[in-house]
């Protein structure tokens, strides 16, 4: 008994000491691992950036490879613009992405609010429609969408690129969950005061779900800016190309000029990385919030 009592504090002290010691070299190990993963995740982007900045006199295939360009130049960026109308492609991508953000935020918020906060017959059926739409993979309906677009004469237009995803069923359900999580009391006063659903939606409910709205907006932008398969199917005329399709074209036509391809990819990815870097704080918070609620 007394032996046990004596041993107990000893062991605890020993564990604490060991714990602290482990923590110190664990910290070092952690940072080493973090740096290794960092090299693995952004290293390839840096290599691409470096290639795009290397002048024509520099051997980009040489060994040992060098990450820093010896003959630094921005000519490759001008070169891309001479080879393909890269800024027009970027503008097309921007149009599609901004439209996608606006339609998704507005449409999904409206529908989500009705599903979460309004009582009416047919509410359950409407919900089921969105759930079913979410379960249908885009890849298995793209041919039918392509035919539909042909019938609507929207093939080879940016409108045709935007339409199928302009209000995502998933976003509707996301917004619905966000509205449903709001306490009902916030709207009660306005309700008693005679505000109609539209006024309650715009003035009270919508400002309370900004976090989810931000996540929907970021994903809508990324989804549209990065999409490849659907624009590849819909667009055939070079003047309508979005950046991703244009890049694929650049890759196919000028595969040998790696510097130009590299410059093109940097043009395509840089705006998104900057945008994400600016918004990442609210993005991670929004995603985290949603996960805890869900």
């Amino acid at each position: 008994m007394s032996a046990a009592v004596q041993r107990e504090p000893d062991r605890r002290a020993g564990w604490a000491r060991a714990g602290r010691r482990i923590r110190r070299w664990q910290l070092l190990l952690r940072y080493l691992l973090l740096l290794a993963v960092l090299a693995l995740t952004i290293g390839p982007f840096l290599w691409q950036l470096s290639t795009s900045l290397k002048g024509p006199g520099e051997d980009i295939y040489r060994y040992p490879p060098s990450l820093l360009p010896h003959r630094f130049t921005l000519d490759n960026y001008a070169g891309v613009a001479e080879t393909i109308p890269v800024w027009d492609f970027a503008l097309n991508s921007l149009k599609v992405a901004v439209t996608n953000v606006l339609t998704n935020c507005a449409g999904a918020a409206l529908a989500g609010y009705a599903l979460a906060r309004m009582r009416f017959t047919g509410r359950k059926s409407a919900l089921v429609v969105f759930i079913m739409a979410m379960l249908v993979p885009v890849e298995s309906i793209m041919i039918a969408q392509f035919v539909t677009m042909r019938e609507l004469q929207l093939n080879n237009t940016l409108l045709g690129v935007v339409l199928p995803g302009c209000i995502g069923a998933m976003n509707v359900l996301l917004m619905r969950n966000a509205f449903a999580a709001l306490p009902y009391e916030v709207e009660e006063a306005a309700f008693v005061d005679g505000a109609n659903a539209w006024q309650r939606f715009v003035r009270i409910a919508l400002p309370s779900v900004r976090g989810t709205l931000a996540v929907v907006a970021i994903f809508a932008f990324m989804g549209a800016w990065d999409d490849f398969l659907w624009p590849l199917i819909v667009l055939s005329d070079q003047s309508k190309f979005t950046l991703t399709i244009g890049l694929n074209f650049l890759h196919g036509t000028f595969a040998d000029n790696q510097r130009l391809v590299a410059a093109g990819t940097v043009i395509a990815v840089l705006p998104l990385i900057v945008l994400f870097a600016c918004l990442q704080r609210s993005f991670f918070r929004g995603v985290g919030e949603g996960a805890v609620k869900g």
């Binding site: 564990w15 952690r30 973090l34 993963v37 995740t41 952004i42 390839p44 691409q48 295939y61 040992p64 490879p65 339609t103 449409g107 409206l110 529908a111 009705a114 599903l115 309004m118 047919g122 919900l127 429609v129 969105f130 079913m132 739409a133 298995s140 309906i141 041919i143 039918a144 035919v147 539909t148 339409l163 199928p164 302009c166 069923a169 359900l173 996301l174 619905r176 969950n177 449903a180 009660e188 309700f191 005679g194 109609n196 996540v215 994903f219 990065d226 490849f228 398969l229 199917i233 950046l243 890759h251 790696q258 990815v269 998104l272 994400f276 990442q280 991670f284 985290g288 949603g290 996960a291």
Partner: protein, 317 residues
């Protein structure tokens, strides 16, 4: 795919609306905007019906016809499906898509979990690492594909390093099998950050006390991982398995960019979705046959998801 896919669609809490106040006379100064629920729902329902549900039904209908892009086509019964069974390209595509699932899913279930544990602890600079690890997710798959084509090229960085170390060149992009493996590696690389975020949210809900209690009992890191972390995030692991297997099965862009539009020499690396795109689009696209392929993609996707969920339930029992 959006991160929203992990939200369960819970039924709305049964909120009893407050008793409707006696209708007050409108004050008249405020313009009453329309507020019928159906007006709120109309845009969403319209888009979803026109561009998801109708195309789905018309895909099924088309799959029984010999429609082409420019012609409506006749009803041909199950002819497309019979042709499919004898189509070598279909089996190649199916094989590659299934191999993709087998190769990619285990890695995407495990690696992002380890990564999430690595960035979970609040350390100085950790937000930077989190955001940086997410970069490949943010980048377009086209950009990612082109970057890796450049890295894995015969004259690319990785082969330069391999040669410098005394190994020979490796034909990452020329050998059909290595090309498929390379594409899988790129998919895993691009997906790590996405699933890391999902795990990060799940790990935040694991009580610290469990780890501490386990540590007091003398359990090492590996043991704590197996007895505390894994059971706590099990449902998330199943979700990641379901999401990643569905995504892997439908792979298109990575292989398209690395192998070329026709899936390399002899189409050896074609996946099912690449086949759908090849067969069904363009002015002479065989819409009927591509629709039959699409139906197969749909059924197998659904089956794959059910299989993952079912495997999970069996383990629970």
């Amino acid at each position: 795919m959006t991160p929203g896919e992990r939200f369960t669609v819970a039924e709305a809490p049964a909120v009893t609306p407050p008793p409707a106040p006696a209708r007050r006379p409108d004050r008249g100064t405020r313009t009453q905007l329309p507020s019928s629920p159906w007006l709120f729902l109309a845009p969403g329902l319209l888009i979803v019906a026109a561009f998801s549900l109708y195309p789905f039904l018309s895909t099924v209908a088309h799959s029984f016809t010999d429609a082409r892009t420019l012609t409506a086509g006749q009803f041909v019964g199950g002819a497309n499906y019979r042709e499919l069974i004898h189509d070598a390209m279909f089996w190649t595509g199916l094989r590659n898509s299934l191999l993709y699932v087998l190769g990619v899913v285990p890695l995407l279930v495990m690696l992002p979990l380890l990564l999430a544990m690595l960035v979970q602890r609040r350390l100085p600079g950790i937000t930077f690492f989190r955001a940086a690890f997410y970069t490949p997710v943010v980048a377009s798959v086209v950009v990612v594909g082109l970057i890796w084509v450049w890295l894995l090229d015969d004259r690319g960085l990785i082969n330069a390093l391999l040669e410098g170390l005394g190994f020979g060149k490796v034909g990452f992009l020329s050998d059909p099998w290595l090309l498929l493996l390379s594409a899988m590696a790129v998919t895993v690389w691009k997906g790590l950050g996405y699933y890391m975020i999902i795990y990060l949210a799940a790990l935040a809900n694991v009580p610290r006390e469990l780890h501490e209690a386990c540590a007091v009992d003398g359990a090492g890191a590996v043991r704590r991982f197996l007895t505390v972390t894994v059971p706590a995030v099990r449902s998330t692991m199943v979700l990641v398995a379901a999401l990643s297997s569905v995504a892997a099965f439908k792979v298109f862009s990575e292989v398209y960019l690395m192998a070329g539009p026709t899936g390399g020499p002899g189409g050896e690396d074609t996946t099912l979705v690449m086949l759908v795109q090849q067969v069904g689009t363009g002015l002479s696209g065989r819409v009927g046959y591509a629709s039959a392929l699409s139906v197969v993609v749909f059924v197998l996707t659904l089956g794959l998801m059910l299989l993952v969920l079912r495997a999970n339930r069996k383990e629970d029992a």
